[in-house]
Symmetry: C2
Subunit: 200 residues, 2 copies
């Protein structure tokens, strides 16, 4: 019996995924959670064989959970299930030690199959992503990413400077760098492009 914990913030989808997996004879859904913190607690408490988690969740993202589990030398395996195949996410997931990475638009029967593969020690990466995986690496530095992220939310340079404890001029420099690297015309377009690649 493969014991699974599922973390997914959309209740309907969570319930549905659980229903789907519970139909399998060799898989048991041991617990579910709708936010990151909660998920982490359940996982550490239950020590399931496989963890299934979304990336975008309130409290703590799937990638952060992955990070923590790695530090705690968690013995089970983790599958990331998410909406979009952003190469940035995929790379971070694999670097973080994820055993699988599925897209939500995969056919439904791939899910149970992936759980089994992963439980056997194999990897399960959505085929349409495997190739693109190491495509174009994120050209942004940490600072540029931070600055761009805030700028993309509409903060002014001075607000950003305050937030990151930098001078306003420095913020301008990083932003200018980022805009150049992404071939954008301004901060807004730059943020949009970076977001599309999963770099934010």
């Amino acid at each position: 019996m493969i014991r699974v914990v599922i973390a997914e913030d959309q209740g309907l989808v969570l319930g549905a995924l659980a229903a789907l997996l519970d139909m399998e004879d060799d898989i048991e859904v041991a617990a579910t959670a709708t936010d990151g913190q909660d998920a982490l607690e359940r996982i550490l408490e239950i020590e399931p064989d496989v963890v299934l988690t979304d990336i975008e969740m309130p409290g703590m993202t799937g990638l952060e959970i992955l990070q923590v589990l790695k530090e705690k030398k968690f013995a089970g395996r983790v599958i990331i299930v998410t909406t979009f195949g952003r190469s940035g996410y995929l790379r971070r997931a694999l670097e973080g030690g994820a055993a699988g990475y599925l897209l939500k638009d995969a056919p439904a029967d791939e899910l149970a199959e992936a759980v089994r593969r992963v439980h056997q020690g194999l990897r399960a990466v959505a085929p349409e992503l495997a190739a693109q995986a190491w495509g174009d690496p994120d050209p942004l530095t940490d600072r540029e990413r931070q600055v761009l992220k805030l700028a993309g939310e509409g903060l002014s340079n001075s607000k950003i400077a305050g937030e990151l404890h930098l001078s306003e001029g420095t913020v301008r420099n990083y932003l200018s760098e980022a805009i150049g690297k992404l071939g954008a015309a301004n901060r807004t377009e730059a943020a949009r492009l970076a977001r599309k690649q999963g770099w934010l």
Copy 2:
């Protein structure tokens, strides 16, 4: 037996929802579709009692399907199931004759319940939305909306002016108006706020 057709572009979620509903004794999933066009054909062919559809889908959105079904005097009832409670969407859905509007973060057992309610001729609107439904109507004029949308994608004023055949100064005026109405500090924040409300 309530016959249901489900339209949802994310295969995994689609399969899972189907599994969830198929567990109910009085509900039968008659067909599923992963894009709007296909969904519409299935619905017209099968004439189910209830249609369950996402909003964002390739080919045709759930709201467009709703529109067409209304024109064709479709006898069944439609439930919109979507990710976020944007009041703009909700209003358009209800105006379009939707019988239900659920959020994906609702608890899973609400789904079957909603299907039954709707089949009996009742409405099923996620309670946390019902109040807000007619809350704040979109304060933006058509022009403001168009301009804001493009600005949010990173276009400069002059690009926007070219796109919409307006003068650059006029674009600035509309944008300034929109920023003011939304209480934002700049175009980027304004676009973000408007998007969050489903006004874009």
